[in-house]
């Protein structure tokens, strides 16, 4: 594990054309890291994430992504991700190829990737159009024991997985606390792992059974307080539900979106400046 300033961490480990999973299921979404990808102008990324959320709306709207692998792409509790819709419905600012799964399938794909498996298995029931999507990568097998149909989901191994977490200790071990989603699986599946954390501590305030990523599995870490805002970091600050509601208006319009991104992301040097500009930094 290398402790790096965030710009350097992203510049070193995220390249044009990479497959990148910024994970965190509605919690610990690595906004600061994602914004750094926007500032560095990365292009042709294959973005992977179970729930694209606002951060992916921003990356897609800024033209960073060529492909999106996902299972649910909305503004949770609010409605659409308008930039995602604009990219899919009207190819703005560029076309976006989709690889879509169910939550269970995508979680299984990460888990298979984290386990050194080429695929994962789940039962297959019913009949939906999901299995008939153009270019679907799912395959159907028969269970050798019951002869029932099973779905095989190919493993996902991102070039780089980026997480936000609460703490890093003196040795570089990282604590993730609260809703963990498939963050650990996405990290263990990846070729490189980047982490931003709320703070550095001598020893993690964690029980032995806590969700901890050992230092030697992490490529680089950056200390970015508030790095998950407007999502949240359990024990540090809550989700800014007002921002999620407000985003609906901002993202609805191409110009309003671009102006917002230019002012709040491209126009500031780092995440702390964004938090100050939004009036949330204390």
């Amino acid at each position: 594990m290398q402790l790096l300033p965030l710009t350097e961490a992203i510049a070193t480990h995220v390249h044009d054309g990479d497959s990148v999973a910024l994970e965190g299921f509605t919690h610990l979404i690595p906004f600061a890291a994602g914004h750094e990808i926007v500032r560095l102008g990365r292009r042709n990324l294959h973005l992977i994430r179970m729930t694209p959320d606002l951060l992916y709306d921003q990356l897609i709207g800024m033209g960073c992504a060529a492909r999106l692998t996902f299972s649910w792409g909305g503004n949770p509790g609010v409605g659409s991700l308008h930039r995602l819709r604009d990219a899919v419905e009207r190819q703005w600012p560029r076309p976006l190829a989709l690889s879509e799964f169910t939550h269970a399938e995508l979680a299984l794909a990460y888990q298979a990737g984290a386990s050194g498996m080429s695929c994962g298995l789940m039962p297959r029931y019913g009949d939906t159009d999901l299995g008939r999507l153009p270019g679907t990568t799912l395959r159907t097998l028969r269970c050798p024991f019951t002869d029932r149909l099973l779905t095989a989901v190919p493993a996902i191994n991102p070039d780089v997985t980026i997480l936000h977490a609460q703490q890093i200790d003196a040795e570089g071990n990282v604590l993730i606390r609260g809703i963990v989603g498939a963050a650990k699986e996405a990290a263990l599946a990846a070729r490189r792992v980047l982490v931003t954390v709320e703070e550095r501590v001598e020893r993690l305030s964690a029980d032995m059974n806590a969700v901890v990523l050992p230092s030697w599995l992490i490529s680089a870490a950056s200390i970015v307080p508030g790095g998950a805002y407007p999502s949240y970091a359990q024990g540090y600050y809550p989700r800014d539900n007002r921002f999620y509601l407000a985003w609906d208006e901002i993202a609805r319009d191409r110009q309003a979106f671009t102006a917002w991104m230019e002012r709040h992301v491209l126009g500031v040097p780092d995440h702390a400046a964004l938090l100050r500009a939004l009036g949330v930094a204390a």
């Binding site: 299921f25 169910t102 939550h103 269970a104 009949d127 200390i223 307080p225 989700r239």
Partner: protein
């Protein structure tokens, strides 16, 4: 017809809450289902077990979450498990009694579309997608669908089938091996639709006060059949309405609180 003292959302929420038996394990989605489950927990079903797909098991939020993963859900949970476990150990293993689903479109057999309106490759409206819906639809012992009834959303034909209801009806779902029983009730802003015991086609089974059969039919994109007996549902009780409104007021206040982040470092 007098103006009812409640909104369509309120009677839908109360009606959904009344479907829940104390002790049932519910896989809860955001919005009306979350309000309904928590209302039931506060009224007649204190031991309802709420599971949100974010991995929180047995949560008892004091305010409703805006997202499926608000911190409130983790803080009040029995435990928080990784997402792969929620789907594998709880849903797929058959531990969930009741699953809730909404959608952009439903057909007469309770199949659901939450993927696209229009052609998949060139959609008119790109919807959020599957999420956990296909698995909830498959594995929950029974499913409650909650959605507003319009001729476009109650569609003669789905643009895309995201989640299975009764497939083509008449036992097709059971023949496919699906472990769950499927959508036992569709709660709308007109009343409740339930599957016919034989054909499994959704029929109008209950109406809210002041709603007519014709109105419900006019809001349905297929020729809506009537159940052998149509139940007249009661209006929300004052205690239910009070509890729901209090919950929503608490929620609005909580969601409006400004966030302050310390940048010490």
């Amino acid at each position: 017809m007098s103006v009812p003292a409640y909104t369509p959302d309120e009677i839908m929420t109360v009606t959904a809450a009344r479907q829940l038996v104390n002790g049932a394990v519910c896989f809860v989605g955001i919005g009306l289902p979350s309000a309904a489950c928590n209302l039931a927990r506060m009224m007649h079903a204190p031991d309802l077990v709420l599971i949100y797909e974010s991995g929180t098991v047995g949560t008892r939020p004091k305010v409703l979450p805006l997202s499926i993963g608000d911190g409130e859900l983790a803080e009040t949970a029995t435990c928080v498990v990784p997402l792969p476990e929620i789907f594998a150990h709880y849903l797929q293993r058959g531990r969930v009694d009741v699953g809730f689903l909404g959608a952009a479109q439903i057909d007469r057999y309770g199949n659901l579309n939450s993927t696209v309106i229009g052609d998949y490759a060139h959609p008119t409206v790109r919807l959020p997608g599957a999420g956990g819906a296909p698995e909830i639809a498959t594995y929950a012992r029974e499913v409650l669908v909650i959605m507003k009834q319009t001729p476009r959303s109650f569609a003669p034909r789905l643009d895309f089938r995201t989640s299975c209801g009764y497939l083509e009806g008449s036992g097709a779902r059971a023949a496919s091996g699906s472990p769950g029983a499927g959508p036992r009730a569709v709660i709308t802003d007109f009343g409740v639709l339930r599957p016919h015991p034989g054909t499994e086609e959704l029929e109008l089974a209950a109406l809210y006060p002041g709603i007519s059969v014709d109105a419900a039919r006019a809001a349905t994109g297929w020729p809506l059949k009537l159940a052998a007996r149509i139940e007249m549902l009661p209006a929300p009780a004052p205690a239910e309405l009070a509890a729901l409104r209090e919950l929503e007021a608490r929620t609005r206040a909580a969601h409006a609180r400004p966030i302050r982040i310390s940048l010490r470092n």
